[in-house]
């Protein structure tokens, strides 16, 4: 018991003294996840909107693939990215394995389907409301797409936050493709896993607290957006 109390005390002091190792790990985590979520947003929102609005050939398969990807276990994504980036893999020449870039790639694959699926729902709901009016004004679904993305921006932002939550919480895939190398590819989740297995609880606890704070902040932000929308009658 006292061991845990001591670890907890050390964890708190690590956070408040802005321990450089801790800061580096948190910084890398945020960097990887933010990059991944930005890319996933750029890919996922138009993809979700297209599936919602357009009747293009291959729409069915795209939907199936998106749904399948959404349920993919992270370790499988990690394995695939590992195989592709490994020395003998198709992209081996770039030497990306065990770099932050590899981790970003893995997270993009994990997060894009989530953002796409949630965006699709948002855009479909909005289109149900707008379709007649916009068609009446002469807008094709393609033409209406930017309008719908614009008008659904708050709800889409909530989808992006959900993606960010998933990205920061992910362990398996980034562990495999990042390698959890000290000062290079060590992020919050992988460090926690490692430190706990070593029996060093202080750093793990400190990172756990930071990670928890991040997900609480995300949750609060999403709630705030929802409340403001409802207040303005935008529900």
């Amino acid at each position: 018991m006292s061991e845990i109390t001591t670890a907890f005390g050390t964890a708190i002091s690590l956070i408040f003294s802005i321990n450089s190792e801790l800061a580096q790990i948190v910084g890398l985590s945020l960097y990887v996840s933010i990059c991944a979520v930005l890319i996933a947003t750029i890919l996922g929102v138009p993809l979700g909107a297209s599936v919602a609005l357009l009747r293009f050939p291959g729409r069915g398969p795209v939907q199936v693939i998106l749904n399948a990807l959404m349920g993919l276990p992270p370790v499988v994504v990690g394995l695939i990215v590992y195989l592709i980036l490994s020395r003998s893999g198709p992209l081996g020449v770039f030497g990306l394995l065990y770099t932050p870039t590899a981790m970003i790639i893995a997270q993009v694959i994990l997060v894009t389907p989530i953002i796409a699926a949630l965006s699709r729902q948002v855009i479909e709901d909005l289109w149900a409301e707008y379709a007649e009016q916009l068609t009446s004004l002469g807008a094709s679904p393609l033409r209406a797409m930017p309008t719908l993305i614009m008008d659904g921006r708050f709800r889409l932002f909530t989808a992006v936050l959900a993606g960010f939550g998933r990205a920061t919480a992910e362990v398996g895939a980034v562990m495999m493709v990042g390698g959890n190398i000290d000062h290079v590819t060590r992020v919050m989740t992988t460090t926690i896993a490692l430190e706990v297995s070593k029996g060093d609880l202080a750093l793990a606890l400190a990172l756990g607290i930071v990670l928890l704070s991040i997900s609480i902040t995300i949750g609060a932000l999403a709630q705030l957006i929802k409340d403001r929308r409802q207040m303005k009658g935008r529900a």
Binding site: Y130, E132, T135, S136, L137, G138, T147, K232, R234
Partner: protein, 259 residues
């Protein structure tokens, strides 16, 4: 051959030629419509709930396509742009009143430099200058309906379809909308609207289309229609007989033989 921009080629009359529309399960909802809608007059589409009034407007406007038959615009193939529709429930984008009109103009490829004046003009006409920069969805229902008319008006259409534009409005808001429709019409826009308010149909209408169960039972000048409708069912409807439809069945006159 130079066309004056103030007098573009007329897209009216609009002809419906043996038009049928079938809904889910192939159920006919519009049955064999033959009619022409000409410029200048105000056409009131009336009939009981479920008669097919809204579907008729959507067909004419081009939101639905006929299952059989043709809808033909004069001097224009396909769906011309010089038309607009005002729905029973106004649908506004999540942006200011002004931006909503601007958006419609941009879809109609109106030059950006010309939009400002057009927007001010229609906002003034509809009495919405004070609300111009408010988010459209916080406007009252009546204001939103006026904004919907302003948005339609901005497009300078030759014909406007209005689907129960004053349903669920209070008397003063109804009066404002009627006045706007009157002015829109005075400016030369063809009005086709549905209403359940027979007084309104008398006040605003030049001619009446009476629909019943997907059939056009009568098309007549408004005075003639209300004074001596040719059709039995129309007669009962005008008198406001609550069981008027039962009468139709009792006399074994299926509406489709009445024409």
């Amino acid at each position: 051959m130079t066309k004056s921009p103030t007098a573009p080629a007329s897209i009216l009359p609009l002809y419906l030629d043996n038009v049928w529309f079938r809904g889910r399960g192939n159920i006919p909802l519009i049955k064999d419509f033959n009619l022409s809608l000409s410029a200048g007059t105000r056409t009131m589409v009336i009939g009981p709930n479920g008669a097919g009034k809204s579907i008729l407007l959507r067909l004419c406007h081009g939101l639905l396509s006929p299952s059989e038959g043709q809808i033909l615009w004069s001097g224009s193939k396909g769906r011309p742009k010089a038309q607009a529709m005002v729905f029973q429930r106004p649908v506004m984008l999540r942006r200011s009143a002004r931006a909503n009109i601007d958006y419609a103009l941009s879809l109609h490829a109106v030059d950006k430099s010309k939009r400002g004046d057009i927007i001010e003009d229609v906002l003034t006409k509809t009495g919405l200058t004070r609300q111009a920069d408010a988010p459209a969805h916080v406007l009252s229902f009546g204001e939103q309906q006026r904004l919907a008319i302003a948005r339609a008006w901005a497009l300078n259409p030759q014909i406007v379809f209005l689907d129960e534009p004053t349903a669920s409005l209070d008397p003063s808001a109804t009066y404002q909308i009627e006045e706007l429709i009157q002015r829109l019409s005075d400016q030369g826009t063809k009005i086709v609207m549905t209403t359940h308010d027979l007084g309104q149909a008398k006040r605003l209408g030049d001619e009446v289309l009476f629909l019943h169960r997907g059939r056009l039972l009568e098309q007549a000048p408004v005075q003639q229609f209300f004074e001596q409708p040719e059709n039995d069912l129309a007669q009962a409807f005008v008198k406001g007989e609550l069981l008027w439809w039962k009468r139709g069945e009792g006399s074994r006159r299926d509406p489709k033989h009445v024409r």
